[in-house]
């Protein structure tokens, strides 16, 4: 028994070594994506039949702007076992995928790529190109990139619309170096997070938000089932803090994909 395992792992190691030594000649034919954001880019770029499975989150209409498209794929819940059984030749995960799962898949000889989340528009361009290269669909990626640049140029507004605050559950705000911050900036707003030197996503006490006197407050829609974390979004002080309040932070704000232009437009 033990010998058998050892032999198979030896063979596996050999196979991996050979695969690594050979140049990548053909595009992967059995691709599994296990991250909500890579799911969307993969669905936009993959050739018919090339993408086998997307994460189950991609099929959730509350989270995914492409839930309808995702319904055509096999959902996966991100466990190494189920993904291995799909016999993929490329797995696209995220940087937040549990490392144990990733190393398990790699030990099993599967090629695993973990593109980082895109936190600004340049990064989205990079990720479109990267996804095109991974799938062997460079041409499709160039088209998508061109469309995105055009959309973005059309959606971007000059920076004279005043000050806005992003606020979400547990009193978190998004700074200038986040995707949400970039969306806000593209829509023509100054982010009040900059007043307090917040560049990333960080907690901002309610009273500091009120003291910043934003012209517009941008929050998200609440999840079903209540939570105390979201209760801060209905605090009376928040209602009094800004003249305009919009609850538009939703699925278009989550991932760095060409769909962020919809998020920019939602602030019109």
């Amino acid at each position: 028994m033990r010998g058998c395992v050892r032999r198979s792992s030896t063979m596996l190691a050999a196979a991996v070594a050979i695969a690594a030594a050979l140049p990548v000649v053909a595009a992967p034919q059995r691709v599994v994506s296990m991250n909500l954001c890579s799911d969307q880019l993969a669905m936009m770029l993959a050739a018919p039949g090339q993408l086998l499975s997307v994460s189950s989150l991609a099929q959730d209409p509350r989270l995914s702007p492409m839930a309808d498209e995702a319904a055509a794929y096999v959902p996966n819940s991100g466990r190494a076992e189920e993904i291995y059984l799909m016999r993929p030749d490329l797995v696209i995960a995220g940087t937040y995928t549990p490392p144990a799962t990733l190393s398990m898949l790699r030990r099993l000889g599967i090629r695993v790529e973990t593109p980082p989340p895109a936190e600004d528009f340049d990064a989205i361009r990079t990720e479109i190109t990267r996804m095109g290269r991974l799938l062997g669909r460079e041409e499709g990626a160039r088209d998508l990139l061109a469309r995105f640049d055009a959309d973005l140029a059309a959606a971007t507004r000059p920076a004279d619309r005043g000050r806005a605050a992003l606020y979400s559950a547990n009193g978190y705000t998004s700074g200038t170096k986040t995707l949400a911050g970039a969306i806000l900036e593209a829509a023509g707003y100054d982010n009040i997070a900059a007043d307090y030197g917040i560049a990333v996503t960080a907690g901002l006490p309610l009273e500091l938000l009120v003291m910043a006197r934003p012209d517009r407050l941008v929050t998200g829609t609440n999840w079903p089932g209540q939570s105390r974390s979201e209760a801060i979004l209905s605090h009376p002080a928040l209602a009094a803090a800004a003249p305009v309040k919009t609850r538009v932070r939703d699925l278009f704000w989550t991932c760095g994909t060409p769909l962020v232009t919809r998020a920019i437009r939602s602030l019109e």
Partner: protein
Amino acid sequence: MKALFIALSLLVAVLFATSLLTGPAGLPVVQSLLDLVFGGDGPVPIVMREIRLPRAILGLAVGAGLGLTGAALQGYLRNPLAEPGLLGISGMAAFGAVLAIQTGLSLVAVLALPLAALLGAAAGVGLLVVLAGPRGGSVTLILAGVAISALAGAGTALVLNLSPNPYAANEIIFWLMGSLADRSMLHVWLALPPMILGAGLILSTQRALDALTLGEAAAQALGLAGPSLRWRLVAGTALIVGPATAVAGAIGFVGLVVPHVLRPWIGARPSVLLPASALGGAALLLAADIGVRLIVPDRDLKLGVLTAIVGAPLFLHLIWRTRSGGRV
């Protein structure tokens, strides 16, 4: 004794004002107090009236309520280890509140939240009084408290984990440790009226608690330890601990530490200990709430962390004293 009450009242007043003046915005003292009273334009009145005022009022009320119920439970059970947090009454209240929130009842009727917490607290204190009775010893009391706490904690965790809301599961810590961050005047109006009613009921037991110093039979013979005492105590505790937990989470040890510290100062009389513990509890919780804002200003450190750091060693000390047969 009068001097003690004056000192405690002054302490509470100073801490209340300090609580109003503590916050990340670092507002000017005079201006912020003027804006609090007279209002005005700009963000300062909003910060003072909508954010800091409810927090300070709740700190005062929840602390006073916990101190009062701690002293009353100790007097009734004649045991210095009794306390709503440790005995699982707060935990049961939190369980009730979580049920009201996750079933959506609190969206249908805003009063459902304090009411459900109140029912939870009533179930907890009722169970406790039946299990550990006025005749129950320390061991029965603590074991009953452990069992009720465990049950309530498990129920709370289960309900929050079953919630469709992704934030709910992380809120177990709030319900177990308590916090006053970002509460609004709505929470004050939800919690305060039942708490005042409960305080009235508890304060009506003063003479009976004094009589219980002589034991249950003697108190009964003095005409004071009938079923109505038990009823008033259970209802009063539930009316205070339920709504307090619904808006601030379960905060332990306040009701244990405060009566213990104040008892020698007021000659150990349970009737005098009640108002003294209410003042002491208010001071302790206001101080703890100022503390959490000063220690880690940008994070929501839970109140129960500070009260446990003060209270748990004292609790161990009390158990040690009980174990070695000494009177506390």
